[in-house]
Symmetry: C2
Subunit: 230 residues, 2 copies
């Protein structure tokens, strides 16, 4: 296997929880490309390949190594044009960026708060120290203080998902009639919280929840098995 | 001229302020298609063409008459494929819907509050009665009560525009390297408030404000002249 995806894992070395890695897991499955997952801890990231990476995913594909989920998705479409497209045209490439910007600016802050303690608790002791130090510096408060906002953020989430809920009244998938990278962008973002804090994301019967369930079913239910060793 | 766009106007019969009409004004300009604007009041809408419409825009194009801005944009691309495309591919058609859903669920409620009294004040007396009755029923409060939320909504707007601001760090236009219908969808939404309550939308030096200015410059500055008689 020459295709290797470096993926942030919990202390067990098999629980994959990075939102951006999940985008690429789904992208590789979508394109039907084989790959193996190489678990890394926060500490390991600086030692991936040539040591120039500060985040995951990183993909090695034969002699090519690259990072940044969106760039990897673009690379996969360019390199494997015969496999199903992740972007249905150039316009979709640009507009998928808007889904990414929405996930980053609207959803990430809420999900980071909702999942903060569960995420911390699944890490190795060394990653816990790294994570605590980095987050507490960034947010100017302890993780425990941050976690006090979890109920508030969980209550705000349905409103924050309103644009997706409205979109899904028009079409079955974010990308249109069939799922593509815009779906995986949103899915990865939510899957992060779903892996760390299972069953806390949605209230029942939400349109977005049923879309998320359909995403979990894709590709032999790969999203339903976040704990895997390869 | 066989191409006629019905457009909601103020009492002066020349101030065009409907967000959805603005989307189609920009779409027609983008495609280089000639058109005339037919001003209508709220009262007039039920008498447009065969009387089956309850909102604007309505476009008559030769023998074809249709409503709903997104459907009109799709129609224009299908009917005039040789003119510049409003959607760069099928994927862009689907993802432009997400921009529309974001405008509808995130921005509209804020803008409706910010502009409510100015919008009311530019209408004819009959439209003022219609508008007041409809809005007060929908929101369960007087227009004046609603307007008290304007400062709060204006303060919330920069945060609500965060996904657009983030997107514009990657590309010059919402649609990518050049403007297209996703831009006009957002532009129309903001132009509504800009026409009703000029110079209140943005704080200075905002990335989104500079994008909006570039939209106003397009097509001989059509957006800078919201008061026009044809």
């Amino acid at each position: 296997m020459t295709r290797k995806l470096y993926s942030l894992c919990g202390e067990d070395g098999i629980r994959h929880y990075s939102p951006h890695v999940w985008k690429i897991i789904m992208a590789l499955e979508h394109k039907g490309l084989e790959y193996s997952l190489t678990p890394v801890s926060f500490e390991d990231i600086s030692e991936i390949e040539d040591g120039s990476y500060s985040s995951v995913p990183v993909l090695r594909d034969g002699e090519t190594v690259l990072g940044e989920s969106y760039d990897i998705a673009r690379y996969l479409d360019e390199t494997y044009p015969e496999a199903p497209a992740l972007f249905d045209g150039k316009g979709a490439m640009a507009l998928t960026r808007f889904v990414e910007s929405y996930c980053k600016t609207v959803l990430h802050p809420s999900l980071a708060t909702i999942a903060v303690m569960d995420m911390h608790n699944l890490m190795s002791p060394d990653d816990q120290v790294y994570f605590r130090t980095a987050r507490e510096r960034r947010f100017g408060m302890s993780l425990e203080e941050m976690a006090k906002g979890a109920d508030r953020e969980r209550a705000a989430l349905p409103d924050k998902l309103a644009p997706i809920r409205d979109l899904l009244t028009h079409q079955a998938w974010v990308s249109g009639a069939t799922p593509a990278y815009a779906d995986y962008t949103l899915f990865g973002t939510l899957q992060w919280c779903n892996v760390c804090s299972p069953n806390t994301l949605f209230t029942k019967d939400d349109t977005v929840s049923s879309w998320f369930d359909r995403c979990l079913d894709l590709y032999d239910g790969v999203g339903r098995n976040p704990a895997r060793s390869s």
